[in-house]
Subunit: 270 residues, 2 copies
């Protein structure tokens, strides 16, 4: 999966990343591996939750229709909901706007043992705000540094961060918008703003390139996930996550007391 | 499922409720229905999330080893994690203790469109506190009234409340405690306090009877779920939840604008 991870601060041209890329794999060829990865993830999450040594923050970003909701659902499907949480950051409230842009974010980071998925994140504060002219380029570049420091701080304090950019093509977005309008049960997913935001496609791509380049650090690199094919997107996200958890080599914690004595106490209790 | 719902404030004797009860059903006989209920729940949750008309609060209570975590997991398995959250209330912090006992609870109730499962709840404030002598009987009975008012307030403000008491036998708890000690991967689930709390079994049963009786209202009745058999427990919880959602008769919201015009706009966008 290293292929999709960005080395520290290399310049990014998204046109050179094929959203249809499947790394030469077919859906059928990974079916069994995917199913095994799901089981492995459930097992690793159990140990992660039990050991309470690290927190895991998964940041999902992508343009409208890139499939952030579906990715979240597919990834968390079948692991223990007592140990995860999804945070969706919508437009900030007046109180949140009265604070710095990381204030509401910091309150929502996971505690040790827990996994939190940010379905959109603080990266919107160097993205949609920039597209809409709410911040200038200078502010955006300052924020890249601030975000890098914030992430470094979290990592230093036992939070692991995995960041996925779901990369789709402009045609793919068009097809998804059509779907939302043509299927009555999907109407609610459509918003008039989807059309106006689509007009800023190029700006979004450019500003994504900026943040992918400037906020890929050793502590928290970005992964660019080809996302035109759902099955491949889900596979990359799951495999990357499982790899990270595996590398922690966590173990179930044990009990300090004498197990046999405890068992006897339980057996003797009426 | 009405059989397991408590009519308004009837006196409860838990000894008359069989934790092994399966209502004459076998695991095999409900297999297909259970699978259909899961699909129905996923579909109903999608509409619930889309319509944003109501919030759903599911309260899970039960003595140690009654299976609150497992029930949560089984229930939420396969529905959309963007639309639910699990809240586990542990021992209150100093700041929380400085406030009334519903302060931290109120902050965690679901917003419209969302489902929140309370894995333990404010009912611990008329239960474990009472067993440990932190509140007297008089306070407990006052709190029953306060809780009823709080729940009535939530219901008046578009929150639906479903409350499940997972009912197990004392022998079943013993078996589960032994499991936790005999299976190394479950050691972390064992706590020395499990043994001391078990000594207060009768008190817990009595105080549960009090809260089940006094806090079963028309707005938010308790369901006593026979929970020695996991499959039956999961079935009752899922079926009750699906029934409640079905009774709401929710529909996907539609778009006010002209759909054909919107489709053309999308098709024309480059």
């Amino acid at each position: 999966m290293d292929k999709f991870m960005i080395d520290s601060q290399q310049q990014i041209d998204l046109k050179t990343f094929d959203p249809n890329d499947t790394n030469g794999l077919s859906k059928d060829s990974i079916k069994e591996e995917y199913s095994n990865l799901q089981k492995e993830f459930a097992h690793l999450q159990d140990i992660f939750y039990a050991s309470k040594k690290f927190a895991l923050l998964i940041v999902l970003q992508g343009i409208d229709c890139s499939g952030k909701d579906g990715t979240t659902r597919k990834l968390l499907n079948d692991i223990n909901p007592n140990g995860f949480r999804v945070e969706s950051f919508k437009e900030p409230t007046q109180e949140e706007l009265g604070h710095d842009y990381l204030w509401r974010i910091h309150k929502s980071v996971p505690q040790k043992g827990f996994i939190t998925v940010f379905n959109r994140s603080y990266y919107e504060d160097v993205l949609v705000t920039r597209v809409h002219g709410l911040i200038d380029d200078n502010t955006a570049f300052n924020r890249f540094n601030e975000i890098n420091m914030f992430e470094k701080f979290l990592v230093n304090n036992n939070t692991i961060i995995i960041k996925f950019f779901l990369h789709i093509s402009k045609d793919f977005q068009k097809k998804k918008l059509e779907d939302r309008l043509e299927i009555p049960e999907k109407h609610w997913k459509f918003s008039a703003s989807d059309l106006t935001e689509r007009k800023s496609w190029d700006k979004y791509q450019q500003y994504y390139e900026d943040l992918l380049c400037n906020c890929s650090t050793d502590e928290a690199p970005w992964n660019i996930v080809p996302s035109n094919k759902r099955w491949f997107r889900d596979y990359v996200v799951l495999k990357t996550t499982v790899d990270v958890l595996n590398n922690l080599n966590l173990k179930y914690p044990d009990i300090d007391e004498n197990i046999k004595e405890l068992i006897n106490k339980v057996k003797e209790s009426n």
